[in-house]
């Protein structure tokens, strides 16, 4: 048990930044807009968070800046995909490149600089529950907020009026339009919120997780987040489980490297990617019909009100 608890706690910590990005992507994809640019958004958010924290000395402001930066860059994606009805795959890839390039350019003189970010604290009362306490309730505030976010998103999507509207837009925009829901407004709203959360995910990495700026510091977490959305079949709770699974593998390989196993580091580094691929195959095999269970029906399809299909 004593060996396991630190690894599980590290899994939660390592899974949290991915979880923010995944929750954002679930929102965007539920509205029918696929955003493949998470990797770039996370990098851009990571730099924005780092530099705002460095400038103001406040990690809270840094995280807010990361959210704002993510949403701002996603505006390009939303305009191209929602207003102009462009190809979401291409726009997402462009976003990933653009965000990565911008963060590298802006952060060119700050590589390796450290900042003072958020510190962990024991959550009152709950931290004393055996097992659960040390694993879930001895972290920083952003981890606690992520718990809240997952449960409230789950409630929001499946149990509230705006959540139903959101799903309607993603499943059948024409019907939603006929019901008087503005498809483009809903898509803009949730795509931007999703981009903001991806920025926040990056901000968590730089402001809380590593408390420094390194070029390309997300190391593929944005792409993994896209895969975990599919693993979670567009449901927040299930996706959260996937995030912790990823976090667990990540924490495990770091620990094994630190302990100096005979397995070479590159092979250990491969594990999270292999796991993501394995998980993706597993979920795809389980949905027999060829169409992924729970994928929003109009995901990736632009909606033009004046055209009939």
């Amino acid at each position: 048990m004593d060996v396991l608890i630190p690894i599980l706690a590290a899994a939660v910590r390592s899974g949290t930044p991915v979880a923010y990005a995944v929750m954002g992507e679930i929102l965007a994809e539920r509205s029918g807009v696929m955003n493949l640019g998470l990797e770039g958004l996370m990098l851009f958010g990571a730099f924005a968070g780092f530099s705002a924290t460095r400038f103001t000395g406040s990690p809270e402001l840094g995280l807010a800046a990361a959210f704002a930066a993510g949403a701002l860059v996603t505006l390009i994606h939303a305009f191209l995909c929602v207003t102009l009805g462009g190809n979401q795959t291409v726009s997402g890839l462009a976003l990933a490149m653009f965000g990565g390039g911008m963060s590298a350019m802006l952060g060119r003189n700050h590589i390796g600089e450290t900042i003072k970010g958020l510190m962990p604290f024991d959550f009152p009362v709950l931290c004393r529950i055996p097992l659960i306490g040390p694993v879930f309730f001895r972290h920083d505030v952003m981890v606690y907020i992520s718990f809240l976010l997952v449960f409230s998103l789950s409630f929001f999507i499946f149990r509230t009026r705006p959540g139903i509207n959101l799903r309607a837009v993603g499943e059948n925009p024409r019907a939603a339009d006929a019901m008087g829901i503005s498809v483009s407004r809903v898509r803009y709203l949730y795509t931007l919120a999703g981009g903001g959360l991806a920025g926040l995910a990056g901000g968590y990495l730089s402001v809380v997780y590593s408390q420094m700026w390194v070029e390309g510091m997300t190391a593929g977490r944005g792409w993994i987040a896209v895969a975990l959305v599919i693993f979670g079949i567009w449901r927040p709770l299930r996706a959260m489980f996937g995030c912790y699974l990823f976090g667990g593998i990540d924490a495990l390989q770091l620990r094994m490297q630190a302990a100096g196993t005979s397995i070479p580091a590159p092979i250990l580094l491969m594990l999270p990617y292999l796991m993501t691929l394995g998980v993706l195959v597993f979920i795809s095999i389980r949905s027999k019909s060829g169409i992924l269970l729970g994928a929003p029906a109009s995901l990736g399809a632009p909606f033009r009100r004046e055209e009939r299909e």
Binding site: L93, M97, A104, R108, W223
Partner: protein, 359 residues
């Protein structure tokens, strides 16, 4: 905007298409300049350095072609897959695996004959890259596994695999700790001419013609296009979806694998970490810019080569990170995508009969 409508153009003219693309790229460069100015970089100087570094001398011109070779090959890999509407974003991983296979062949085959080695490297890299692509293809065809994610994960896994070999068994003891293999024997080098140009150029050009002819003229090419345009229709007329997806991904991966071979055997003469500076991703852009037209691809790759060589110059002269080129790549893609709408649609204000006109 109220009252304006997007109206589909029935068939956009070639002139209109070309001018939209040109305007899109110009717009991307203008936006890039604006962003550079905001980031305290003099855009005029940056663009001047890009042009001077790439086209300002014979050496720079040669370097631009040297860069255009791998971009053409990865671009062709993407064209083939994208024509079938399969999003192979894994050319990067496939080219790494191709380079690994070529290097393995040099290290372990012990063939003395140069022609034999080169043929072996050619086959090994093509097959290895092809299999690396065929795996996601199989997963896609069999269980509808999202190929974007699967190929991307393949990139990272290939990168780790290369690190494993370069920091381990294959490391050159003379390299002072740099992750690279020992130089290949002269027999395992492609023909090098005019400075740093190498025979990969001809592989790339021949491939462009072959791919173009295959897609445009053969029955198989037609099947691929039908799958790409309308997968359901392809299924109804009895085109084997599963078989073709695996085949397309195999060939796409094989072209990328050849690209890896041409880089290590033609340009570098050894396998070193970072021998590919994101050529797989650049391939996605050039494929899209060329309108998925294989014949057009070498020209677009040359233009992209200007940007990449210019990026190297920017790094040396102005101290900008190499990945700053990604800003331009992203912007160009955004603008071309946005421009596509104006290619296929026109903005119209439909004539609304006003009440007093009707009366």
């Amino acid at each position: 905007m109220r009252g304006w409508r997007l109206e589909r153009r029935v068939s956009p003219s070639a002139f209109w298409s070309a001018s939209v693309t040109t305007f899109s790229i110009l717009a991307a460069l203008a936006l890039g300049g604006l962003l550079m100015a905001l980031m305290d970089v003099n855009p005029a100087k940056a663009y001047f350095e890009i042009l001077r570094g790439s086209l300002g001398s014979w050496y720079g011109f040669g370097e631009t072609i040297v860069k255009a070779i791998p971009i053409t090959l990865t671009g062709l890999a993407c064209v083939l897959a994208f024509r079938a509407a399969i999003w192979n974003i894994g050319a990067e991983g496939q080219l790494i695996v191709g380079a690994l296979a070529a290097t393995a062949f040099v290290r372990y085959s012990h063939i003395e004959n140069s022609f034999g080695i080169l043929c072996g490297m050619f086959a090994a890299s093509g097959i290895a890259g092809g299999l690396w692509g065929a795996i996601p293809g199989f997963l896609k065809g069999k269980w509808n596994v999202n190929e974007i994610i699967a190929t991307l994960m393949g990139n990272y896994i290939a990168l780790c695999l290369m690190d494993f070999l370069l920091y381990g068994a294959w490391k050159d003891p003379m390299s002072m700790g740099f992750p690279m293999t020992a130089p290949f024997p002269p027999g395992a080098r492609l023909w090098v001419f005019a400075g740093r140009l190498h025979a990969g150029l001809f592989i790339a050009l021949v491939m462009a013609v072959v791919i173009h002819a295959t897609i445009g003229l053969t029955q198989w090419g037609f099947e691929i296009r039908v799958i790409g345009e309308n997968r359901k229709a392809a299924w109804y007329v009895g085109i084997g979806i599963m078989k073709n997806i695996v085949l397309v991904m195999f060939l796409s991966g094989a072209i990328a694998g050849l690209c890896g071979m041409s880089e290590v055997a033609g340009l570098h003469g050894r396998l070193s970490r970072g021998f590919s500076v994101g050529y797989g991703f650049t391939g996605v852009i050039v494929a899209w810019l060329a309108g998925l037209n294989a014949l057009l691809l070498p020209f677009v790759a040359f233009l992209m080569g200007i940007l990449l060589v210019g990026g190297d110059t920017l790094q040396v002269v102005m101290g900008l990170p190499l990945s700053s080129v990604q800003i331009f790549q992203g912007l160009i893609l955004f603008c071309v995508l946005g421009g596509d709408i104006f290619r296929n649609y026109r903005l119209r204000r439909p004539h609304v009969t006003k009440r007093w006109e009707a009366a």
